[in-house]
Symmetry: C2
Subunit: 214 residues, 2 copies
Amino acid sequence: MTPITTFSIPLIRRLPQYHSFVEGLIREGQLTVSSSAIAAHLNLDAIQVRKDIEHIGVIGRPRIGYDARELVKIIAEFLGWNNLNQLILVGCGGLGSALLGYGGFARRNFEIVAGFDTDPVKVGTTIHGKSVLPLAKLDDLCRRLHIEMGIVAVPADHAQEVVDLMIKAGITGIWNFSPAAVNVPKNVVVQQEDIITSLVILQKNIQKQHEAAL
Amino acid sequence: MTPITTFSIPLIRRLPQYHSFVEGLIREGQLTVSSSAIAAHLNLDAIQVRKDIEHIGVIGRPRIGYDARELVKIIAEFLGWNNLNQLILVGCGGLGSALLGYGGFARRNFEIVAGFDTDPVKVGTTIHGKSVLPLAKLDDLCRRLHIEMGIVAVPADHAQEVVDLMIKAGITGIWNFSPAAVNVPKNVVVQQEDIITSLVILQKNIQKQHEAAL
DNA sequence: TAGATTGTTAATCGATTAACAATC
DNA sequence: TAGATTGTTAATCGATTAACAATC
């Protein structure tokens, strides 16, 4: 009888787009929004938008559309943006630093509480206002704050050892920005981030576009 | 009679993983690889791996598996990694700089030929070896080199104008790292990059994992 | 030969799309 | 009322999974 959270990845990719569009409408003073307005703005099908909204449990009114505030609120709830979500990050190089400084996390209630590094020059400093700590402190910090998620931003050849440390510290979700595949026990989830893949998708879509134009 | 390139996004997300795993095997001296070996390493279903490989046109041998070199070669071909792909980037802030310095592009034959910015302090300098040019030079450079893809790494409120400039310069594929939705003509493709979405997917998967453990 | 592994054909499953009734 | 828009039910489509034959 437990309500199982079902979702598809494509759905989760669309919802944030609905969210920011409707957020904008609210700022402009609009009170309701129709599925077709969302669809037109995002180049999607109105039926799909309606299905997605139905899926997360928002009910609209014929002729009127959906209550904009309610929609935004429930999307945020569904995406977990209404609770603070804390993470830690290991590897404060170029990419790690950029992530420490990324403002978009706070906006959605995500917070990187600290960065970790082995480089004695970096340890003790702050990057974009976040302290850089030695790896030895990882375990204690994660356990005290009950951190669930960790970002791996180290070179490929150190990814596995970092992941092992994180798992020992009780982390169950790993966001891996290194190009290495890592081994984890069954109760741990890995999200492999591969920027090249996005680029390939863009390129394939360009190709398809060209072909369609013939 | 033109061969239409078909592909699904999930397929394109899996292929790079196969590629790097098999690349590793080759380095270790292995000559062939079976679908089940790939599947086991990536926590996938062997049947799915076989289907994917079939889809890109590689033929294996019963009892033996697939020729590792051939597999890697054809995956790379399918993903467009055998030709040099050039891009330009606009917005040399924290994220833009990190992208300019990212080593993974070159490895797959992608090259950011230059960064562009409006800040006179940045213009004329180099970041990670890439020159930072004024926006006025964007049009000329893109046309001369026949650049197809552009990266938008500017704040949301400047995204649309940058996109308009890119389109005028002949760019048909836009990789948008700003959180703004942008309008483009039908022949232009936008790939919206939203780091938060990845994080949400990770978190949802952690939740699912927890539920599954009950 | 026997057994491992691919290739092929069919079944399932879920996401998307379509059709249309309900309703404000 | 008429028309716009949601909600519901059915159809389609494609990806994944399954079953099993082919083959080295």
